[in-house]
């Protein structure tokens, strides 16, 4: 690994360390609570809270490495959640007892995958830009969410499920495990498999990839199915515990996920990015949220700070990539 890549991939982790130090130090003066910020349980909780956006952001990384974007993940997330909770109330499912749980999960994940496949197919077959396609389906899927149960929340608490979701294995919460395992698998996919390498090639130089015989359409389809699946997985993880979904849930998740991915250094134009760095981006955002709360800042400041950091990152990235004073002033 060259120095440059080390620097690029290390930046987000360095930022996390800075955050940790800052909030620990500032917290010891300003903190409203007695516990230290770097408290172990606090950190575990942080990982757990990172999971819903985190799992989506992992998928978004791959979509963005492809040079696409998916704005519909928030709505997919909500619809998968509704299917998860509602399916458990179906008569035949209730008759199955706790065996209904894996089936409900399956239905939810299937929903997400199908919604992703719809996006993917449209992108492939119509040639319309993914931004527009998913902008449309963001509205459309949200409409489906409302059509399912009107403006009423959909609720179903299954205590077995709640126990499972709240369980801790080796100290880590279930949600954290899902996040980490998903990250590991996707990291392997992106670095070790042909599909992953092709994803980089397509985002980097699509024409070259096409000329080399990589079938871009099906490739996009797979990745949109993947992000749909992950959005549903994220819903499964979160709503297994909470047991109630509002039709507006998941709104703006797409924007949070994109923020995390960009903080992790993935290029908007595609071709460059890493799953691990996105994980860093997700954790950095969650740290910021918790940290600001810890030092007594209003929770609303978080939005302000994250927004400005996002812009600052963009600015720094551009400054670092300048070719110097000779460049064309275009």
């Amino acid at each position: 690994m060259s120095k440059e890549t080390l620097f690029k991939q290390g930046a987000i982790w360095a930022f996390i360390v800075v955050e940790l130090i800052f909030f620990s130090v500032a917290g010891s003066y300003l903190s409203v609570s007695d516990s230290a910020f770097m408290d172990f349980d606090n950190m575990l909780l942080l990982l757990k809270q990172s999971a819903p956006i985190g799992i989506i952001a992992l998928g978004m990384t791959i979509i963005m490495i492809n040079g696409n974007i998916d704005l519909s993940v928030g709505a997919t997330y909500a619809l998968a959640a509704i299917v998860l909770l509602d399916s458990m109330t179906w008569p035949f499912m209730q008759a199955m007892g706790d065996w209904a749980i894996p089936l409900a999960w399956f239905f939810a994940l299937l929903t997400g995958t199908v919604l992703g496949a719809i996006n993917g197919l449209i992108v492939w077959k119509t040639g319309v830009d993914a931004f527009i396609v998913t902008l449309g389906s963001m509205l459309g899927y949200r409409g489906l969410v409302f059509m399912y149960n009107g403006e009423q929340p959909t609720s179903h608490l299954n205590w077995t499920l709640v126990d499972f979701a709240e369980a801790q294995f080796l100290g880590l919460h279930t949600a954290t495990w899902f996040l980490l395992v998903a990250a590991l698998i996707l990291w392997l996919v992106m670095t070790k498999t042909v599909h992953g390498r092709n994803a980089y090639a397509i985002g980097n130089n699509r024409e070259a990839a096409v000329n080399a015989g990589i079938r871009v359409g099906p490739h996009f389809l797979w990745n949109f199915m993947l992000i749909g699946f992950l959005a549903a997985l994220s819903a499964v993880v979160f709503y297994s515990e909470s047991g109630s979904v509002n039709p507006n849930d998941g709104m703006l998740y797409e924007l949070w996920a994109i923020t995390a991915v960009v903080l992790g250094g993935t290029k908007l134009s595609g071709g460059y990015g890493s799953i691990i760095s996105t994980l860093g981006g997700v954790i950095a955002i969650q740290l910021l949220r918790k940290g600001l709360g810890h030092i007594g800042a209003d929770t609303e400041t978080v939005n302000l700070v994250i927004g400005l950091i996002l812009i600052a990152v963009l600015f720094l990235d551009r400054q670092l990539n300048r070719t110097g004073k000779e460049e064309l002033k275009i």
Partner: protein, 503 residues
């Protein structure tokens, strides 16, 4: 050259695009172990033909035979599988990926679960790289390589299969002399294995050095094949352009006026250093040199698009600082840029709006743009430059290259500039329009404009210039008047050879 069956034979290939017959019954063949040059002017149909051969485009009519087997190739992959490999002129590499991944793009070796077999990949790649004798290995990121080395990666792609025919499209455009030697070794290596090579280049000296036969295209039509040993540049040129190459120098000199623009010791970092020259009213100053010699960068600096690191620019004897194109235009400097479609025109806009773009602020009636004033300007320059368009509402993207270029020139003439810089005025323009534009440039000088023409085509520079500045690697090598210049001295100057020593 052997007498085997041809590895590749084309029969009456026709390819049409809406409104254009890009290839019109082209037939020729490539024998095993021969290097077959394909020549023709820009727009003659070479790249279309190569795309047909490479499986990127499908011909409308005609047949392709590989070793006398009729073949249909619908994708580049299929073409490659059949042994026809196309090495692109524009690099088609993914620069974030490694050399190995690029060479085996689309055909990475597989292990279980769709994993990449890195061991095999790197071994195979290194074996190929060894043949090419390059100084980088399989794991290097392509973005970290020099352009020349990236070209080598592109060439390495051809060696992943047992090719029957390899198409090189201007492979030496960005190579240094040392790198060219390696390339020619690779080509003769392929040759000795019985591979047929199609070699596209504009550089006559290369063609005569390495090829066996030369086929010529003109306006999409096959014009004949010559044996390299039995022909000469003149004959080839004659076939290419349908008449003798006009290397005549500009004879007509106008009354020269005062010095309009003078540049003293201008430098811009590594792009060009210590450049000095001047141009008078009524004079055409030619800038000749290879691509990358720094000519375009000088123009961009004069036009305020780059900040010089040293030196002075004087207009009418007054030193000026030009920080933006707006200031340059204010000082009466205009630039017809090199990349017509990328920099010169807004292709989606109509002809009139493109032409009046720089002065739209001044063409107002009240707060609004005055239709009448705009159309008046357009009509005036349409007539003056003989721009052929159905009307001003026509989208510029639909015009021919020559007419597009005239729109750009008209855009700047209507600003009544003191100094007009024209960068590659006839790139990608057909022969007829070319001489029109050359005459236009001469006329402009006659009307008292100071004109700077940057060109990579020697006939063009010789034809239009009163004086010629030869550049090499960011420096001015020599300045010639049109009376003293000879082709040889010019070529030496732009190759970095000064009178007594080799630079």
């Amino acid at each position: 050259m052997t007498d085997h069956t041809p590895v590749l034979r084309l029969e009456d290939i026709v390819k049409t695009f809406p409104g254009v017959r890009a290839l019109d019954g082209v037939s020729f063949n490539v024998l095993p172990g021969e290097v077959h040059a394909l020549m023709g002017e820009n727009g003659a149909g070479k790249s279309t033909l190569m795309k047909v051969l490479g499986g990127i485009l499908q011909p409308n009519e005609g047949r392709i035979f590989i070793e006398e087997e009729p073949t249909v190739m619908t994708t580049p992959v299929q073409a490659k599988a059949k042994g026809v490999v196309f090495i692109h002129q524009e690099l088609s590499l993914a620069d974030e990926l490694t050399v190995a991944e690029n060479i085996f793009l689309g055909e990475l070796p597989l292990k279980s679960f769709g994993r990449v077999d890195w061991g095999t990949l790197y071994d195979d790649t290194n074996a190929i790289l060894k043949q090419l004798n390059v100084g980088f290995d399989a794991k290097t990121r392509v973005g970290d390589l020099s352009i020349a080395n990236q070209q080598m990666v592109e060439i390495a792609r051809a060696l992943t299969v047992d090719p029957k025919a390899v198409i090189f499209d201007e492979p030496t455009a960005s190579l240094t002399d040392a790198e060219k030697v390696v390339l020619f070794d690779v080509i003769s290596g392929l040759q000795s294995k019985g591979v047929g090579i199609i070699y596209i280049s504009h550089r006559m000296e290369e063609i005569f050095k390495i090829t066996d036969r030369i086929s010529v295209l003109r306006d999409g039509q096959y014009r004949g094949t010559l044996n390299t040993r039995e022909t000469n540049e003149e004959e080839v040129t004659h076939l290419m352009i349908g008449r003798k190459l006009d290397l005549s120098r500009n004879e007509s000199h106008h009354e020269l006026g005062d010095v309009a623009l003078e540049v003293r010791g201008l430098s811009c970092g590594k792009l060009f250093q210590d450049v000095s020259f001047n141009v008078r009213r009524g004079e055409v100053l030619g800038f000749y040199g290879l691509v990358g010699a720094g000519r375009t960068e000088i123009a961009e600096t004069l036009f305020g698009l780059r900040d010089p690191s040293a030196g002075q620019i004087l207009l009418n004897g007054q030193e000026v600082r030009i920080k933006s194109p707006i200031e340059a235009i204010g000082h009466g400097i205009s630039l017809v840029p090199e990349d017509r479609k990328g920099q010169g025109l807004v292709l989606g806009m109509n002809c009139r709006d493109n032409m009046t773009l720089p002065q739209v602020d001044d063409l107002t009636a009240g707060p609004f743009v005055s239709d009448g004033a705009e159309i008046a300007i357009f009509d005036q320059y349409r007539d003056k430059l003989d721009i052929r368009t159905p009307g001003w509402r026509q989208t510029v993207g639909n015009l021919s290259g020559g007419n597009q270029q005239k729109i750009v020139i008209g855009k700047w003439l209507s600003m009544r500039p003191e100094v007009l810089i024209v960068d590659e005025p006839t790139r990608g323009i057909d022969v007829g329009s070319k001489s029109e534009i050359h005459n236009l440039i001469r006329d402009l000088a006659a009307q008292g404009f100071a004109v700077i023409v940057i060109s990579s085509e020697m006939p063009e520079v010789l034809h239009v210039s009163d004086r010629i500045v030869a550049m090499y690697s960011g420096r001015v090598m020599r300045e010639f008047t049109s009376d003293e210049v000879t082709e040889d001295s010019l070529i030496q100057a732009i190759s970095g050879i000064t009178g007594d020593k080799v630079a």
